[in-house]
Assembly symmetry: C2
Homo-oligomer: 98 residues x 2
């Protein structure tokens, strides 16, 4: 197996928006939709689609709650997501090592 084999990179993580979301979520316990949107600079629709894909892969879990009667949707990395992200970074590092 070559370190340049592109299929080693997890396709679910390797999209620019999903990568940015994963990289952000690994730094915090949880983040709400608006925070993600502001940091990642994605549109609502685009961000929703990519979060859905991460949720379907069970890389991200979603918690809906009401805070002072306002709805809030909080996202966090799952254990599976964390492991996948670490594996992704390992492969990436091997590929781009200088």
């Amino acid at each position: 197996m070559s370190e340049f084999d592109y299929q080693q990179l997890d396709d679910i993580i390797h999209s620019r928006i999903r990568l940015a979301v994963m990289a952000l979520l690994i730094t915090v316990e949880e983040a709400d939709f608006n925070f993600l949107k502001e940091k990642v600079h994605a549109t609502d629709g685009n961000l929703s689609v990519h979060l859905k894909k991460l949720e379907e892969a069970e890389y991200v879990s979603v918690k809906k709650e009401f805070i002072e009667r306002k709805p809030r949707t909080a996202y966090s990395l799952t254990r599976k997501g964390r492991k996948a992200f670490e594996a992704y970074l390992d492969h990436l590092e091997k590929m781009i090592k200088k």
Copy 2:
């Protein structure tokens, strides 16, 4: 600007096959099609499409030659491609810093 802003990542480089090709080409002076194909594990058609995109962006230059009467197509990074790849790695590093 947020370090998680996904648009900071050069879209031309950030596709798995093109990233693998760029990462490989930065390690060698030039590489022919079959070598790239073997290392990146892409199909002919897929690899051609992505090489074409890198060529159109002037990140990669193509040299067609005959060696012992056999055609050979050699690819190498351009100066522009090298700079773009370094900028890509800088942004990526900021995004995924631990």
